[in-house]
């Protein structure tokens, strides 16, 4: 008796939790007919925001990979004093409120800031805001992925005559690529949704610095349907990212790459 009651309660709680997570997202699509939703997407505010978001995201993510990967690899492969501190510092932007990130970026890059640059209000500012809030997601995951690479395999590659660079690109990187891709997908999703730091540091100007989230906020007070349409667009893109992420994680890259690798480097 007690057991069935407990089970029923647990089931009810689970149903509430699931509905709570699903319904707000579903409501975006249910409130406006799909035809109208598509029509709203062709408005200049939306297309401009889409272009700004795509461009700044692409650049920011490229920077994250180019600068974040070496950092993650060094942290993962070296043991040094203060390593825990470094990892914590890398993770800090992840838990910071975005508004704090915006203030920080202004305090550093602002015209009256430490470096005194003219970056605020430019697309560069959007890129920096996105990179700042999103990179920890990639770097964290990359550190974990590099740490998971079997050191014996690396050692074997080195004994077989591969230099450090060759070992990294031919052994370590292929073995870690699943984790790296997962981290990058998360960073991309987080960057795409960036709002607080961007509006404070880069401002909001259609066609220049107004990303999709900023455009949604502006349209909320002007035309709710357009805001909904952009919301739907971001849901679709984010869901696609999540699916890609799941596919990447179900791969077992180690088995696919190791054979290829040892044939080549012998």
């Amino acid at each position: 008796m007690r057991r069935t009651l407990l089970a029923a309660l647990a089931l009810a709680a689970a149903a509430v939790a699931l509905a709570f997570l699903v319904l707000p997202v579903a409501a975006i699509f249910l409130r406006v007919p799909p035809g109208k939703l598509l029509h709203q997407l062709s408005s200049p505010v939306v297309t401009d925001a889409l272009i700004v978001s795509a461009k700044t995201s692409a650049i920011a993510q490229a920077l994250i990979i180019v600068f974040g990967t070496p950092l993650a690899y060094l942290v993962a492969s070296r043991r040094f004093r203060g390593r825990a501190l470094v990892v914590t510092l890398i993770e800090l932007p992840l838990v910071l409120p975005p508004a704090v990130a915006g203030i920080g970026l202004l305090a550093l890059f602002g015209r009256a800031g430490l470096l005194g640059t003219s970056i605020p209000f430019t697309q560069t500012a959007v890129v920096l805001a996105v990179a700042f809030v999103a990179s920890p997601l990639y770097i964290r995951q990359a550190i974990a992925a590099f740490e998971a690479v079997d050191p014996d395999v690396v050692a074997a590659a080195r004994t077989l005559g591969a230099g450090p660079g060759r070992t990294f690109f031919r052994v370590v990187l292929p073995l870690a690529r699943g984790g790296l891709a997962a981290g990058e997908a998360l960073a991309f999703a987080r960057g795409l949704g960036e709002f607080g730091a961007t509006i404070m540091f880069a401002g909001s100007l259609q066609g220049l610095t107004q990303t999709l989230p900023l455009a949604i906020y502006e349209e909320f007070a002007l035309d709710f349907d357009t805001a909904l349409a952009m919301g739907a667009l971001l849901v679709v893109v984010s869901a696609a990212l999540l699916v890609i992420l799941k596919l990447v994680l179900t791969w077992q890259p180690s088995r696919q790459t190791s054979g290829f690798l040892f044939v080549r480097s012998s």
């Binding site: 407990l6 309660l9 647990a10 015209r111 909001s204």
Partner: protein, 241 residues
């Protein structure tokens, strides 16, 4: 048993969190330019300050506001027309001014200096009252070309003020009352007489309000001698020109 207790507790927290403030204290959705003045007039009320257009949109979506105090008459009139609030009345007025950082890095002396290339001008966004007044001024003075120099369109007047006060922007259009709150950081440049817009503030009681008596009392206080005196002290202009 323990699980059941937890469930009851969780439901209690959720409903408790959504409970409305007591019926005797009105919730006021007010234009951000009223951030300093209104709480002085009604210290016991709850306030939500933002761009008037954002607040109007929230009220349309069923936000629990009792009073709406906007920086123009259009937004409350539209709400009244669509049945969301009572007939709005003008409760105060304001003046639009141009502000520059104390150091004035772009050497701006009049609004016409905004035409110079490379000036970083910040204005409020589409639909934000102060943004609409700004466009009126630029049209009247045949200065719409300076829109080329706009580097950001902010969500409310205090954001415009912040960007200029922080010295990140070279100039911005705000209300005289906002400029007054940051007088140590910004300089005020007045707009020529022929370009000045008539900035009227409208107030109304929200139809769906559960605290109508408190809301009506608050509106009365704002329109009465105490409210008007406080508004004047903060630099707002009399209701009638």
């Amino acid at each position: 048993m323990r699980l059941a207790l937890a469930a009851v507790l969780a439901v209690g927290i959720v409903t408790g969190a959504s409970a409305q403030p007591g019926a005797t204290r009105a919730t006021v959705y007010a234009a951000s330019s009223l951030t300093d003045a209104l709480p002085t007039i009604a210290p016991r009320a709850y306030f939500s300050f933002a761009g008037s257009n954002t607040l109007a949109a929230q009220i349309r979506q069923g936000a629990p506001a009792d009073v709406f105090a906007a920086a123009n008459m259009k937004l409350p009139r539209d709400l009244y027309g669509d049945g969301f609030c009572s007939k709005p009345v003008v409760f105060t007025r304001n003046a639009l001014v141009l502000i520059v950082p104390r150091a004035n890095p772009a050497h701006i002396r009049t609004v016409f200096d905004l035409r110079r290339k490379g000036v970083k001008l910040v204005i409020a966004g589409k639909g934000v009252p102060v943004g609409d007044y700004t466009l009126q001024v630029l049209r009247k003075l045949k200065l719409t070309g300076v829109l080329e120099n706009v580097v950001s369109r902010e969500t409310d007047v205090r954001e415009v003020l912040a960007k200029v006060a922080l010295d990140e922007a070279d100039a911005g259009f705000v209300y005289a009352t906002d400029a007054k709150t940051a007088s140590s950081k910004v300089r005020v440049i007045s707009i020529p007489q022929r370009g000045r817009p008539n900035v009227e503030y409208g107030i109304c009681v929200v139809r769906a309000s559960h605290s109508k008596p408190a809301a009506q009392a608050l509106v009365k206080r704002v329109l009465g001698p105490i409210g008007q005196k406080v508004l004047r002290r903060y630099g707002f202009l009399p209701r009638k020109p």
